[in-house]
Structure formats: structure tokens, C-alpha cells
């Protein structure tokens, strides 16, 4: 998918109501201001933590 000059990639992350509640509680804790922002933060911090390796 593309948007403007930069190529974009759309992903739909499906969460059930319990998983969504955990996301929303985490947001309420001040880590992000939206679900999308929290997921981006999770990706970045996961990558920082794991470097070039996927989790076992």
C-alpha cells in the first residue's frame, strides 16, 4: 500500500475484548494516547529489546 511518496503497509491486528481491555488499561497508564500508538511503541521497544532476533 502506498501513501504519498512513502510506501505504507497496512496491518489489521485482531484482538478480543480481553486483549483490547489490556491495551486500553495500558494506554490509561499513560504509555500512549491511542491503540495505534501503543502498538507502534510495542513494536519499537520489542525491536530495541530483541535486536536482530525474533523471540524464542
Amino acid at each position: 500500500m502506498t501513501s504519498g511518496d512513502t510506501k505504507r503497509h497496512a496491518i489489521v491486528v485482531r484482538l478480543n475484548q480481553q486483549q483490547m481491555e489490556l491495551v486500553d488499561r495500558t494506554i490509561a497508564g499513560g504509555l500512549a494516547d491511542s491503540r495505534e500508538a501503543l502498538l507502534r511503541r510495542a513494536l519499537k521497544e520489542y525491536a530495541d529489546q530483541h535486536g536482530g532476533e525474533a523471540d524464542d
Binding site: 505504507r8 497496512a10 496491518i11 491486528v13 480481553q18 488499561r25 507502534r40 510495542a42 513494536l43 525474533a54
Partner: protein, 326 residues
Amino acid sequence: MTDVLSREDAQADPGRRLIEERILEPGTGKAFELRKGQILRIEQAVGNQCVDFNCFNLHDYKEFMHCGRTRTVHGFNPSEGDFLWSAPPRENAMLYILKDTVRRNDVLFPRCSAFLYESAYGFDVHTNCHDIQAEAQREYGLTPDDVHDSFNFFMCTEVTLDGLATITRQNTGKGDHVDLLAMMDVLAIPNVCGADIMRTSNFALKPVRIRIFEATETDLAAVPDVPAMKSQRTPAQFRNARIKATRELVADPDYMPEFANTPIVEEGIVLDLDEAEWALFEQHARRDLYGDDDGAAFRDILFTWWEERFLNAASGAPSTAGKGHE
């Protein structure tokens, strides 16, 4: 079990008031009422003897010590500083291991049973932990079916790299002991493991000394705080709190299932990743598990991140304190 030992020997623990003392002879066990704040000492009278152990809430025998829960929280070898937990949905700290001079215990192996000795050795009657436990607990009206998975004190076990559990010999001496501090009123039932033709107790059965003390203020102060959770339910919260008194299982025609949070329904979060984010995602996506399902791969990253960032254990149970906070 027999005799009360000498007072001089029994008072070798300064500051603690001795309440009771016994020797458990080989092939026997004994149920002890242990009140909150009392200490049960299980001590090697000779050495190299495994002691199997069951524990029930003294006021509600349906709450009992759960090896599975205990090993999940504290590992295969719970020791000094760990708790013995009751089964879900109670999940209360029943006992605290205040002292352990050996630090080798087992919550992996089941109790030995008559079946074992008949199948492996040809003895249909032989000292075995299940029957010893059942006989000791019978004093309080419990049946052989009420014996639960055993916490095995001083039992030396290992898990090999290929996943097998093995028993090794122990190396304990006279006077080695564990001190169990009651966090609630319990019926505590130690038994002298009957395995004399296995290496569990180094191929011999020896007596075990039991003492009960009143804990001192210092003892009580040594216990870490344990979390109090709404999910630690009591029978008053059960949809069916009545203890079944018949053996036959018959369906309740009026039963209507009430499973929590059902139906489970999914909702999508649409993420629009830029090139750099996509590259990070591609680097860490578990394609081996999720193939081309990007959403599932991202969900794995999300909750793995959450576990690593927030999940920790406090005083033996998962903590919810500070969840979602920096």
C-alpha cells in the same frame, strides 16, 4: 509414631515456645493441627529420609496445597523464602518456608503408591506414600481419594535435558530441617516416605522428628507480604458451593453455563506502518508460526512486549501493581 523426646533437646530453639514434639517412625505419618502463626519443623532424626507432605485448610478441606501452583510460582525446587500455595480458585499462601537447611525439595514427582510397588517390584502390599498419607489423614475423616499431590521434602530430583525426571540420592544429616510457618489454620500431614527400594531415601527408611513451635515476632516479620486478589475466591462466591456427597456423576437438568467474558469477540486495530516500522516488523515477525498472517505476528509481538515489560512476580504471585504505568 511414638515418643516425646527429651525436653533439653526439644528446647534447642531459643525464643520459640515448643508446643508439640513427636517422632514419626518409618512407614507412618501423622496429621497435625497447625494454627496460623505456628511453625511445623520437619527434621531429620537420622538423616537421608524423604518426607511426603499434604496440607489442607483446617476449616475447609476442599482447599488444599497445590504442587502445580507452587512449582509454577517457585520452580521445581521450592525452598527457604517460598510459599506453599493452595489450588485455584483459592490460591492462598498456606505455609511459608521459613528455614530450609538443605534446600533440596521436590514438587515434580507424585507420591509413590501401591501400584508402583506391585508393577515394578511385585509387592501388592508395601509401605508407600499414598497409603501412609491416606491412613494418617483418615484420623480427620478424609478418604484415600482426598490425598493430593505431595510436596516431597528432602527429595532430590532433576529434570534432564531430554525432559525426563529423575530421582537421585540425598545427602542430609541428623538435624537438617525445614520450618514451615502457617499462614492460615491448616491440617499438616507429613509422612515418612515408604520408598526403601528406591534411591529416594538412599535405600533405607529412617524416623523423622516433628516439632511444632509458636512463631516469634522475628519469625513473623520475616514473611514477605503476599498479594490479596479479588480472584482468590471463597466458597461463598461459588455458583455451586455444595460439596457433592454421592459418588455417581449425574447431569443437572437445570444447568445453564455461565462462562466469564463469553462470547469471545475480536475487533481489529488497523495499523498503517511506514517503511522503517515495516522493516522492524518483518525482522521480528514469527513467520515460522504465523506464515503470512501479519496480524497474528504483530499480536505476538505486542503481547510478548507486554509480558516482558510488565509481567513480574511479587511474593510468589503475579502482581498487578503498576500495570500500565511507566
